[in-house]
């Protein structure tokens, strides 16, 4: 009977509606479970000595992770020094020179594909390109190095920064470019003094996102920077990083070290959350001012 079929269809629809809602609820619950646990256990383990002290070598009182925090900051600075200029310039190419479709189209595709390369493979490439040749040419302890680690991180950063820069530049209205050209500016002047500055805010957020992503990476550093338990600011040696130190401590048996690992994860998550939130606030304000300016 038609009405019975309709009833089953309606019941199915209602049931599936509940199922879809449940799926969403489940995903959100999992998020809260995972991050909630990490926050809870991190808060119980964190104190000032985490930021202030360096490792002591004694497993009962292992000190802090200052060396790892400084290490991560320096690694990010090095990676950004290489990754940001290259990435932004490549993004400018993809956006402003996209009429050279013979190169621009495939390059966009290559950049997208590169963002999907497993980070451990990037680490292995870093090893083959920056660790092995260096240790062949020099005869002292310069093989695993912070420079190699930063290079691996830059490799991950460049395609991400390039694509987000391109997307942000595309959002700049073409009227800006046309106006600038109409006033007699060259292409270079247009790009550097009109287009880029107007997209500066969103490009910066893209860079921050890429840095935040790269700050949480561990695998690329496993065979390049290797990690270190000493406070060192010299990137030509094996170099510490927050993620590597957390991994070493978390997979070991010593409870005091594990506490440091949990505190470290909290710091990492807090950083990521802050960056993500900041980006949203900035983007919202940006959109508001642009609408207001119209």
């Amino acid at each position: 009977m038609a009405s019975a079929r309709f009833e089953t269809r309606r019941l199915t629809s209602d049931a599936m509606f509940v199922v879809c809602a449940a799926c969403t609820l489940l995903i959100v619950t999992l998020l809260l479970l995972v991050s909630g646990y990490l926050v809870w256990i991190g808060i119980g383990s964190i104190d000032l000595s985490f930021f202030r002290d360096v490792p002591t070598g004694d497993v009962a009182t292992p000190g802090g992770m200052r060396h790892a925090i400084e290490g991560t900051v320096i690694l990010l600075a090095l990676a950004a020094a290489v990754g940001v200029p290259l990435g932004v310039a490549a993004g400018v190419y993809l956006s402003e020179y996209s009429h050279e479709w013979f190169f621009a189209g495939p390059l966009r595709f290559i950049a997208d594909v590169l963002t999907g390369v497993p980070s451990i493979v990037v680490g292995i490439l870093g090893y083959e390109l920056f660790v092995v040749p260096v240790s062949r040419w020099t005869s002292n302890s310069v093989s695993f190095s912070g420079y190699a680690g930063a290079a691996a991180l830059a490799f991950i950063m460049i395609p991400i920064v390039a694509r987000t820069t391109e997307e942000m530049l595309r959002l700049v209205p073409k009227t800006y470019r046309e106006g600038s050209l109409a006033l007699g500016a060259s292409k270079a002047q247009t790009v550097l003094r009109v287009v880029l500055p107007s997209a500066f805010g969103s490009i910066s957020t893209g860079i921050m996102l890429a840095l935040a992503r790269v700050a949480g990476e561990t695998a690329p550093l496993l065979f390049t920077a290797l990690g270190s338990r000493l406070l060192t600011r010299d990137p030509s040696e094996p170099f510490p990083s927050l993620t590597l130190q957390i991994y070493t401590y978390a997979t070991g048996p010593y409870p005091e070290q594990k506490k440091l690992a949990w505190a470290g994860i909290l710091v990492l998550l807090a950083l990521l959350f802050a960056v993500n939130l900041l980006i949203r606030v900035v983007a919202a304000r940006h959109a508001a001012t642009r609408l207001g300016k119209v």
Binding site: P85, S141, R193, P197, R233, T251, P253
Partner: protein
């Protein structure tokens, strides 16, 4: 400021931070030596490094415990001043380093590999025999209440719990010691798994470094793994007694391990010193004892300056001399005087760029 000016300013600041940091490190007029290798002696080496800094301030030694395989690779690639390994160099490794007259290999201390386990409800250490251990790691004995384990431990009620062996995933001297010992105890083990730094364990869970295996044991009820004694003691992991060649069940202690090393002095000759001290005779001998070795080049050209070479020689002399007093408290056994003599003889042949190091 234009974009370019802004970018230039930022990079200038960044570069100066990094270069300044690097320069600041280099300015400190201290000697830095790098060593890498076995996790087996790592707790003691860390202690040595800390104590030696009190004796000789201005010498900073960075020992990275990455496994014996990594240590041999590091010294072969000349990326460190000295390598550490519980597995003595194989013929092929000696060749890769340039031949036996280019190498010095000395025992640094004696340690013991213990069968550590996680079985709830026990109040005293279990007894194991070599064949039983081999069969556990082969998978022939798969539950704790197996009759062969009961037989060795009458009076203890063992639970019906599956056994999970825990092993090393990295190239490990501890694996070399344990698998070599098991190979002497069980021909089946020798044929199926063999001895080496990295072998194919038939079953179980892998961990990286002694630390990783200790973590696996801690986290898995019913597991048993092979770790250096210090890791078991430091983490309060229960470990068992092993039946030695004379039939006695012996727990690993500095005394029972020293006994194992006593007979070795006579076999040590030349500069590539090696002695396998597992399965030694004696009532109180711990059967899974082993030397752990430090490996370096006879001509220390891999060190840039003579002060570095001197610092290294002084450190090694101290470690095999005064430093041995720390061995007992860290659950290792010091070298006997006979062994020490052979070590001193080998170290005295060290040169730097042809000149002997004093």
């Amino acid at each position: 400021m234009s974009i370019i000016q802004r970018a230039a300013w930022v990079s200038a600041v960044g570069v100066s931070i990094v270069v300044g940091g690097g320069a600041a490190n280099a300015e400190a007029s201290e000697v830095r030596l790098g060593g890498a290798g076995a996790t087996f002696p790592a707790p003691l080496y860390t202690k040595w490094v800390a104590e030696y800094e009190k004796v000789a301030p201005g010498v900073r030694i960075d020992y990275r415990s990455i496994g014996s395989g990594g240590g041999v690779k590091a010294i072969t690639d000349k990326t460190v001043a000295f390598g550490a390994s519980d597995a003595p160099l194989t013929k092929r490794e000696i060749e890769a380093m340039g031949g036996p007259d280019k190498i010095i290999q000395i025992p640094a201390v004696i340690g013991g590999v213990v069968p550590a386990y996680n079985v709830p409800g026990l109040s005293q250490p279990l007894n194991f025999s070599g064949e039983v251990l081999a069969d556990i790691f082969l998978g022939k004995i798969s539950t704790w209440d197996d009759p062969r384990l009961q037989e060795l431990n009458s009076g203890v009620s063992l639970p019906k719990l599956a056994i999970t062996p825990a092993f090393r995933t990295d190239g490990s001297g501890t694996t070399h010691v344990f698998s070599s010992y098991l190979a002497t105890q069980s021909p089946t083990f020798k044929g199926e798994v063999g001895a080496g730094k990295q072998v194919k364990w038939p079953l179980g869970q892998g961990g990286k470094g002694n630390e990783g295996v200790a973590a696996v044991i801690q986290q898995t009820a019913g597991s048993i793994g092979y770790i250096e004694q210090n890791y078991a003691v430091a983490n309060k992991i229960a470990y068992g007694a092993v039946r030695n060649k004379s039939g006695k069940f012996v727990l690993a202690t500095p005394e029972t391990m020293s006994v194992a090393g006593e007979g070795a002095a006579t076999t040590l000759q030349g500069t590539v010193l090696r002695a396998d001290i597992w399965d030694q005779p004696g009532d109180s001998t711990y059967p899974i004892s082993a030397f752990t070795y430090i490996i370096l080049y006879k001509d220390l050209v891999n060190l840039k300056t003579e002060s570095e070479a001197k610092a290294l020689v002084n450190f090694l002399n101290w470690a095999t001399g005064d430093g041995q007093k720390f061995a007992n408290q860290m659950d290792y056994a010091p070298l006997s005087s006979g062994v020490k003599k052979a070590v001193d003889a080998a170290l005295s042949t060290l040169t730097h760029n042809g000149k002997p190091v004093k």
